[in-house]
Symmetry: C2
Subunit: 392 residues, 2 copies
């Protein structure tokens, strides 16, 4: 966007953790495919074979980025569905053994993880929710002490969707590995929701020691209706959607080849930009945090500053109503978020994440400001100027 354009009817989008625009190259790739081939990839004629071949290439490209095998890549309709398949799928696999399957997660996961675990509890599973400190991190000791004989799955996000805190997933996988070795078992599995981390952190499942990983097209400038689930070969997991037995029986439903190509390409673009974009956003983020803390008396950063996604700012403005701030900023064309989009449908839409940080006063007074590919320093200055007008 040109500076001249930006001044009047300026639009400053600062809610990239909620949604990213689709990359024009990704959209073009999807459209080119849609215009050239519409065959159901499970049919037996050449167009279908070509569709299958395209999917194969996409899987291979994704597998390369994840450092895994092609047949460990599964496609779903969203990050939400991927998280459901990971958690319920493992629960169903262990539901009828002669023990009560136990799960570990943290109390500040995304609602698609937490609500799925509530369902697991209703169906007879046991779930431990790790508490987090004011900084937003859980205690590794707590995690260690929570693992028990019948723990089948540990689900911990790569980075939190509200406060951008990065979890020590390598440490988690080390602890899991040690437990498995000691007990001579392949349990518990480690599932990681990487939806928020995808643009900034390494997706190497091998180095990170992951067994299952969730990725969402919507959060990475990709298709709006496409999720990925990496599932290590050999795991016991069952489907949550039944039918024609597509995707090795784990996810029935005709594959949307265009969307799959879009996911692969969006990941490829993200991978190429990762380092440079992370550095660029880190500078803008720190500039914004410094300015906000300086300008607004009493304001405080929610969650650790160091151990945080380069695009995430989450600030408490004590005594201010966050919903009012969001709506007021919107008048100036600025889009930010209060809690997370996936919480706004709940009766109590205040942030349970912020509450968990022992900052209960902040749960209705915090703004999430998340940066993306279009964000520059001018956007931040504009945001600060308008926020000052509203608050002070």
């Amino acid at each position: 966007m040109l500076f001249g354009n930006k001044n009047r009817n300026k639009k400053v989008f600062l809610d990239y953790a909620s949604s990213t625009p689709i990359d024009p190259g990704v959209l073009h790739k999807m459209n080119s495919y849609l215009e050239s081939n519409f065959a159901n990839p499970r049919a037996l004629y050449s167009q279908a074979e070509e569709a299958k071949e395209e999917m194969k290439i996409a899987k291979r490209d994704i597998a390369k980025i994840f450092s895994c095998k092609s047949d460990e890549i599964y496609f779903t309709s969203s990050g939400t569905e991927s998280n459901n398949l990971a958690i319920l799928g493992v629960f169903y696999a262990y539901q009828n053994k002669n023990f009560k399957p136990h799960f570990i997660t943290t109390e500040i996961e995304h609602s698609s993880v937490l609500e799925t675990f509530r369902e697991v509890e209703k169906r007879g599973g046991e779930v431990t929710y790790l508490k987090v400190s004011e900084k937003g991190d859980f205690s590794i000791e707590d995690l260690k002490n929570s693992i028990k004989e019948h723990t089948v799955l540990i689900s911990i996000s790569y980075a939190n969707n509200e406060i951008g805190i990065i979890n020590p997933i390598k440490e988690v996988s080390k602890i899991i590995r040690e437990w498995r070795n000691k007990k001579e078992t392949n349990l518990p599995y480690f599932h990681c929701d990487a939806c928020q981390a995808v643009l900034y952190l390494s997706l190497d499942v091998s180095k990170n020691g992951l067994d299952i990983m969730t990725i969402d097209g919507l959060k990475m400038y990709g298709p709006r209706n496409g999720g990925i689930l990496y599932i290590k070969n050999g795991l016991e997991i069952k489907p949550i959607i039944y039918g024609g037995g597509h995707q090795r029986g784990l996810r029935s439903g005709t594959e949307d080849v265009a969307s799959i190509l879009g996911l692969a390409y969006a990941l490829e673009i993200a991978e190429t930009m990762k380092e440079e974009e992370s550095e660029r956003l880190l500078k803008i983020r720190d500039y914004a945090i410094d300015k906000i803390l300086e300008k607004f008396e009493g304001s405080s950063l929610n969650g650790s500053r160091d151990n945080r996604l380069p695009n995430n700012i989450n600030i408490c403005f004590p005594g201010k109503d966050a919903e009012f701030l969001v709506v007021s900023l919107d008048i100036f064309g600025i889009s930010v978020s209060y809690s997370s989009s996936c919480n706004t449908l709940k009766e109590d839409s205040s942030s349970f994440v912020i509450k968990s940080l022992d900052k209960a006063d902040c749960s209705q007074s915090s703004l999430r400001v998340t940066l993306g590919r279009d964000t520059d320093i001018e956007d931040i200055d504009y945001f600060l100027e308008k926020l000052e007008k509203i608050i002070n």
Copy 2:
């Protein structure tokens, strides 16, 4: 396509029951939206409000076609997911009452219905599978006699995906209504998989007496990754995917607004063309059936001729290997199907539908030829010419 173009490297697609191309107008509508708004509709700023408004209009347009209320429309990722939500959702709602919930379906439903029922059985539900005659229809008496005190759902497709047989859904809903009135209950519910019927038959849920109805974008020149589920208000049904509580808690996951607009527009186009296109295809279908039965000795039509979708031809060529026919026709650029695409992944990919017709010999010797908007008489002549070359 011009005639001149069609002669060399001719492509004749005759597998529209498996997949339809996306309508260029639908694709354009989706792209226009994607390029103008990428906000998560659950956020609180203007772009999100605009997204919500677009969804509202789409729902209203769909509801008009279905003769139902806007808030009875739900969006899923596919026909498969819609069928899963209909069946498992009702099962979950009645799973823990003090009776064994009972379901009725037919033995020739789509795999996304039948496999979901297998899962219901594994989880403690009871399912009656109605037998069908050689014509492909079940006995209304059988259905009547199958309903019992604890029958919670009857799931019968509008038209079969392999043989195109149209089921008497108004008769079914009348029987259900009578039972409900007599027993003073609102059970059983009536779910209808209308994926194959969407382009040709009335979708008026009120006149048809439906409580739940499945529609799939892929089968109606719409988005590849979008399904609709009509669910009458007041029904007891639970979600199968958990999370942020989108769509009144019944289907979590950020809505793909572009796909929703595409579904509404595809339906609108289909509705406008329905009558004329049905008449046009009926003529082509009957021309093809007559010619085939005349040219190929011993060949027979699978399923009733009269009571059949205008785009469906399914013929048994005794002693011929259908897979070989499909592959041979493909050499001439002709795409047809053997069994259904959703069966090709199974160990035994022969047609269980044809087997159910008491034509076991035909289950590996039948071709499904399904017509669509691009099909004309020349396509049929070309198909017949090549088939003759292959078979005779």
